[in-house]
Amino acid sequence: MADHRLKPITQLGGDTPRKDSFPGLTISERTDTALASLSARQGKPAQFQATAKAFFGFDLPGAGRVATGGVYTAIWTGQDQWFIEAPFASHEDIAPILKKGFGDTASITEQTDGWGGFDLQGQGCITTLEILCNLDLGKMAADSASRTVIEHLGCILICRETGQHYTVYGGRSSAASLHHALVTAARSAL
């Protein structure tokens, strides 16, 4: 068999993550994160919660919240549903890793390449994001997350540090449009 090793490309089609800088803000393509959805199955809530605590080392966060510990970050995405972030390098095949821990208490689906993520860092985050989405950013605490719409695209916005660091996840296929919206807004606002 010929050697046909597959070279990955980023959501923007590049070989390396793109980074755009503005006064007070950088927008970076997030490519080093593996993602999976974790949904609790019915009938075993206590076992599920206990498994989660044992596996992650922290309780799964409640509505609108994000919890982090070790290599994992859990983001609440709906009732009994979370997105789990982990380093891509160690967790590329994330679903079986979680499945091993959760067994039949949860349904787990790989989401890594379903999303194109961008990190916004710097003091210009809020003035940029306020011309993009209708969330009350001033009241968004660190380690909180919300679904929102940016330029017609359904997104998840995560506040890592109030006013300083946010992650936007949008559908990977429309990452170029989302990126265009982010940089246009940054240019406009900063």
Binding site: L6, Q111, S173
Partner: protein, 983 residues
Amino acid sequence: MSQKNRLSGGLLNRAKPLNFTFDGASYQGYEGDTLASALLANGVRLMGRSFKYHRPRGPISSGSEEPNAIVELRTGARQEPNTRATIAELFEGLSAKSQNHVGSLKFDFLAINDRLSSFFAAGFYYKTFMWPKAFWEKLYEPMIRRAAGLGSLSMQDDPDHYDKGFLHCDLLVIGAGPAGLAAALTAGRSGARVILADEDFTPGGRLNAETFTLGDASGADWARAAIAELTSLPNVRILTRTVVIGAFDHGIYGALERVSDHIATPASGKPRQILWRIYSQRAVLAAGATERPIAFKNNDRPGVMLAGAMRAYANRWAATPGQTVAVFTNNDDGLRTASDLLAKGVKVAAVIDSRADGPAFTGAEHLRGAVVTDAKGRLGLSSIKVKLASGETRQIATEALGVSGGWNPNVHLTCHQRGLPVWNAELAAFVPGTLPVGMVVAGAANGQLSTAGALASGAAAAGQALEGLGLTVKSADLPQAEDAPIRVTPLWYVPHKGRAWLDQQNDVTVKDVKLAHQEGFRSVEHLKRYTTMGMATDQGKTSNISGLAVMAEMTGKSIPETGTTIYRPPYTPVPIAAFAGRSAGADFRPKRLTPSHKWAAEQGAVFVEVGMWMRAQWLPKAGETHWRQSVDREVLATRGSVGICDVTTLGKIDVQGPDAAEFLNRIYCNPFGKLPVGKVRYGLMLREDGMAMDDGTTARLAEDHFVTTTTTANAVGVYRHMEFCRQCLWPDLDVQIISTTEAWAQFSVAGPNARNLLQKIVDPEHDISNEAFPYMGCGEITVCGGFRARLFRISFSGELAYEIAVPTRYGDGLVRAMMEAGREFNAVVYGTEALGVMRIEKGHAAGNELNGTTSALNLGMGGMVNKKKDSIGSTLSEREGMNQAEALNLVGFQPVDPSKSLLGGMHFINQGAEANARNDQGYMTSVAFSPSLGHSIGLGYLKNGAARKGETLRAVNPLAGEEVMVKVVSAHFVDPEGERLRG
């Protein structure tokens, strides 16, 4: 020209002179000027022509209520018609033009309309130009529209961009006059999150236009200090040049910020304007009041203006409309204009006070109990005619006349949710009535017209709003301020035979209102529409109340009984560009790119929009000049060897849980319970009404794990439907679903060499021989030396075919690897056109057939609706009307003459029958030229079609008069027995 009417003082930066042009002539003004104030300072009173009669007009106001001084700003692509000179901030190099005239502003040929005014009374277009009837649309209407133009468009694309944004606050304060500033200070000091929005570029409202003091400071200085304090508070955001345009549900307000209108060209990347959506917990409306004119004959002469505006021009902008002025008032406030102008050294020829018993005024001749009955000076006021209390008349020479008929609170935003204002007899004005939830009104907008009243009510309103939010209020430290009582004796118009203007922008006179009444229009809403009063871009801010006062007089009713028309957003005009925001041109909507997009673009693919997806439609090779050449080649190469197509756009839904199979059993009309692990099954999904909804394949990866695919178009709709079923219909089922459409790059590999190609890609430990991996098999495999992948043996083209999926980031690499591996087989990548041709050749239904009006029976899949189980739509698919012998069946068609082509949408008519709806036998849904067969083919629905194979019919297109004889054939043009896909 020198600034001959420039006064001393004012809030101008005289160290920064600004050069500008108006109608080609050069002038100079100062930073802080508006276009109107600078023109007045330069002795220019004539700034435009009226809408209907083309009467010469000058500004009557100093704010956004302006009906007359409407101009075109800038040149080239940035030219903007219908802007108000009274709020256009002067900048270096500003180029402005007057509008709505043929010839020059001074000699407008269309001023003939004024001579013919008797033909143009209210509703003239309903009465004249009626004959001949055909001329109305082609001749009269275009002619009238041209004559009544409102400026011209550049016809070039707007080079600027516009943003939309979202803000949140505890308290939105609308207006930064004394009431708004007091409210913002109260709330800001109390720690609330405050947004203070003001349409002006210098906050302060009337404080900048008046001479009285607040404490020890001038009004302007106090306002400046208040703004400085508010700016220092981190919880307060001040939006200047921002007009709040509407009050919407749930405390949401719209606001337009004119970010770059005051500079020649927006800075690179910066928006011209931002349309904000403000989410407020509470709002204080401190929008002030608008002065109203008194109508008299020829009251539209350039130089006749509102008294408060004349005062504002003198005090704030150090400009006077004339060296000699006069004042006509029915209230005490008008007298202030005379004293302020006198203090500025302007000669006041007379003060005409309609009240015989008003307070005495010294400093100029005070004609009490007198009224102005006429004005002279076509291009600019030269004199007024005054009827004295004694009944005598006097002609008084003056270049300008300040008119005050009292003040109308700006209640507009209080009415945006159908609240009606209430009449206040003391003010002779409407004040706010029922308010939108969360709104409190303060200051002049609420009828508190004194400065002290405005300050106190602003602070109180903020206090009330904050207490409602449970916040502790720190009392504001308010300065001493004037607290003069309101003394007004209503006077709406001075009766006379001539024309006295009410709505100057739409040229509506007192006579027009009387005529409307005479012709039976009694309701103010009818009056408005018949006369067009208040329907211009100023929305009648200076005319509506006076108009309905005249109407009230006609009907013998009181003003409150007559009522007002409805106030609607936006408060002032908003450019459509601002509503569009960034969604313009190529950015109108986002695009979705497939994993192989980069590769396809490199190959020169022609892309087509499929929803938001950009899919390769065909990939032309060198020498191909027509799309059919490319498509035919792709089809033949695939059927002859192997072709690859990016099918990532099909929806993929991961279905997991112990009840996943049961869930799918209920969603699909055919059963899934016994689908073995490692197998794929085609599924048909019905709507509740029994009609076909969507179709696709479902693969079972584990006992409790399925991957369902949907059509590209219905991916979102099907997911939403499944989520609804899961959450609302069967919450007891233990099933979890999530979309994985974008997580996997999926390619169809089809053709006799599909397996040979894939065997070079799939790692050798995975046996994909026909025996080990038969038709409708599926499995998780690895490719290219260990990369995770999924393989499904399914076929849309009818060929031996697979769909192979890898995590999306590897999709680009996979297509390159497959093309490399397929070189020996002359592999091609085919686009959506070839995909469509092949599925029509195979007789597979797609969106054209699953069009929302067809059932499983129509599709020839009636037998799939399993009656041993219940599923959505199964019962209603048994409805009698859907199961008649005459039901439409999906069949194939080919032209009797192979050289003829077919057209989608053609209807079938029996030979010899007339082509009409009664004889309709069905319709063509999909057509293609089949390169495999060498002629056109089609799919379509035909009544009892399954039993009519071999019949010849007429396919007609009555719209274009086309007709083709077609033969009814099997829908499966290629490999009807399905041997290839199982091979």
